[in-house]
């Protein structure tokens, strides 16, 4: 049974991907058990920049959209009445579809009394699976890699996130890199995780968005802990918030320009800066102690 740790944040750019990638590398290096990194930030997936995986498979993510047989259509309008998304509408005795608005619920197909609607797949993104290797000198520990990518101009990330989650490997430890925010995409990414690691910064923006993210994971009934990134760049308000709310801070990662430089090149912090490797080792220990053990 695998343990899924979602790395989320509320605010963007706090270091979700850095934390998820570096934790995956540290865990893989320990070699105790296989590890997976899963990128659910399908609008802007970045994990591949650092892990440079070899992609073995690439599948198109499809949403079923209606195809109307105009010779059979009686223009009764039942399809447009059931559709909540204005993806199929009756205009002047003709049924028009707007595939990019369709959520693929199948309602119109069900509602059509004459069977004039069939469903046809429409590609909205891809899911790629493969392996990433950590630095050679550590002996080629492998990380199972999965990422989803939403096609540019598509509005709905959730079908791609669902497709990513169907391919989550059955490794004992899985890190899910969630999208920023707290809307449907973030919720879909974290909702069945065993633990949510919330990455924040010690700034007013970081704190404001952390509080929203905490409300979200609480409403979902999930266990959560906090990582304060760029510690020292701001003040102590995040710390006092966590204390007042009874949320554990699992790590405080110091603000350091060298980390920003390694990140900018697409490098892995724990491979280039040994003192940060120790920080991430401690974070992994704290995480493993905090994650509820499954029955």
């Amino acid at each position: 049974m695998s343990v899924r740790v979602a790395v989320a944040s509320g605010k963007g750019g706090t270091g979700k991907t850095t934390v998820a990638v570096n934790l995956a590398v540290v865990a893989a290096r320990r070699g105790a058990a296989p590890v997976a990194y899963v990128d659910c930030d399908v609008e802007e997936p970045n994990g591949h920049i650092f892990l440079r995986p070899d992609i073995a498979e690439c599948d198109t993510v499809e949403v079923p959209v209606p195809a109307v047989d105009e010779t059979a259509c009686t223009a009764c309008g039942e399809c447009s009445r059931i559709c909540q998304f204005k993806a199929i509408v009756l205009i002047l005795d003709r049924v028009i579809t707007f595939p990019e608005l369709c959520h693929g619920c199948g309602g119109c197909t069900l509602a059509c009394p004459v069977g004039a609607i069939t469903e046809t797949p429409r590609g909205v993104g891809v899911v790629e699976t493969g392996y990433a290797s950590t630095s050679r000198r550590e002996g080629n520990a492998r990380i199972r890699f999965v990422q989803g990518t939403l096609n540019v101009s598509e509005a709905m990330p959730v079908p791609v996130i669902r497709a990513v989650k169907r391919r989550v490997p059955d490794t004992p430890l899985v890190f899910l890199d969630a999208p920023p925010g707290t809307s449907c995409a973030m919720v879909e990414s974290v909702r069945d995780a065993d633990f949510v690691l919330l990455v924040t910064e010690p700034t007013p923006f970081g704190l404001n968005d952390l509080a929203i993210a905490v409300d979200t994971v609480r409403e979902l009934g999930l266990h959560a802990g906090v990582v304060v990134n760029r510690h020292g760049a701001g003040d102590e308000r995040v710390r006092s918030y966590c204390r007042d709310e009874g949320i554990d801070i699992l790590a405080e990662i110091p603000d350091d320009r060298r980390v920003a430089e390694v990140y900018s090149r697409g490098g892995i912090v724990v491979e280039e800066l040994p003192e940060f490797a120790r920080r991430y080792e401690e974070l992994l220990d704290a995480l493993q102690a905090a994650v509820p053990v499954k029955a």
């Binding site: 059931i82 598509e154 920023p180 995409a185 923006f205």
Partner: protein, 339 residues
């Protein structure tokens, strides 16, 4: 809610309303800090915070809320356990895995968005009923359609609210989305429409829009029909990767884009690579902003960096604003001549 295109000519025919949207693809590149500084420098503009699920602009502009409006992103299904016969047709037809069977006694009473009715459903041992997980429900209504017992209640769900406020730099429209809510794009559209309406009513010629990260529904709703998008990026591999996707998005919707590089001196080579990319793509560089701890200090003080600092970042932001504002003025003059 339908998108209302920006008024090209409002007021007495002398003012030409322009809408500038700041986006980034990647989160945390400095959109909000930059937009807040623009609001300070413009002096007279309507600001709109369209990052509705992690809004931060209010922390710097400290708005005084004058009007609050409830927002519904769509309908949501609920099952009345009294009427549910346990047939399971809803679960079978739900494509989002949002409906599950529970023992009538054990309907999750603290489950997502379960309401009083579900909690108090009469308990009958051994009887099974179905319940909707509000977080997974997309609001398609198929369960309502298929239920033979009429047990599914399908009603508008309040999923957020939006505010019209006063700030020290002019009117502001902003919003708060309920966690996990669907259809944030619709809320973004409501915020933008209101900002434009206020601009027209009060003779402001500029709307400054703070967008959200990503390329999905709220971002599309933020940029559709805008005059210009300013993409704020950072000189990192991730920043460039996300910049390219968001530029492709702006192109798809035919919105002119300009680029600003924040923390440009963190990696000069990468900043050069971004300039080269912009050159190849025929995109104007609005400028570079040097790394400066005054940006964080301003945030800590709840002010804009141009209000508290004469340091490198504030100077760079003033220069960028000068270029953008100059371009807006020229464009307005051109349109006036054409008119």
């Amino acid at each position: 809610m339908e998108y209302v295109p920006p008024a090209r000519s409002v007021g007495h025919g002398r003012l030409y309303l322009k809408e500038l949207v700041v986006i980034s693809g990647k989160g945390g590149t400095g959109k909000t800090s930059l937009l807040a500084s623009f609001a300070a420098l413009a002096g007279r503009a309507v600001t709109a915070d369209c990052d509705v699920d992690a809004a931060d602009l209010h922390l710097v502009l400290t708005p005084v809320v004058e009007r609050t409006t409830k927002f519904s992103g769509g309908k949501q299904a609920r099952i009345d356990p009294e009427r549910c016969t346990g047939c399971g047709l809803c679960e079978e037809h739900c494509r989002y895995g949002a409906i599950h069977r529970h023992e009538a006694e054990r309907i999750p009473d603290d489950g997502p968005r379960s309401d009083g009715m579900q909690r108090n459903g009469s308990a009958q041992p051994g009887r099974y009923v179905y319940a909707v997980d509000g977080f997974a429900c997309e609001g398609c209504g198929v369960c309502t359609y298929i239920c033979p017992a009429g047990a599914v209640i399908f009603a508008e769900e309040v999923s957020g609210e939006w505010f019209v406020s006063r700030t020290r730099f002019g009117p502001m429209v902003h919003a708060k989305l309920r966690p996990g809510a669907e259809n944030s794009g619709k809320l973004v559209t409501a915020v933008r429409n209101e900002a434009r309406r206020i601009a027209g009513e009060q003779d402001h010629d500029l709307v400054l829009v703070d967008g959200s990260p990503g390329i999905g529904c709220p971002v599309i709703a933020s940029i559709a029909g805008a005059d210009t998008v300013l993409v704020v990026t950072e000189p990192t591999k991730s920043g460039i990767h996300d910049l390219e996707r968001v530029i492709e998005l702006a192109r798809h919707f035919d919105i002119p884009a300009v680029i600003a590089v924040n923390k440009a001196d963190i990696n000069e080579d990468m900043t050069e690579a971004i300039s080269a990319y912009a050159g190849n793509e025929g995109i104007t560089m609005a400028g570079r902003i040097r790394y400066d701890t005054d940006v964080t200090r301003a945030q800590m003080e709840g002010r804009t960096v141009v209000e508290i600092s004469d340091g490198p970042a504030a100077a760079d932001i003033r220069a960028i604003w000068g270029r953008i504002h100059g371009a807006i003025r020229e464009s307005n003059e051109r349109e006036q001549e054409e008119a």
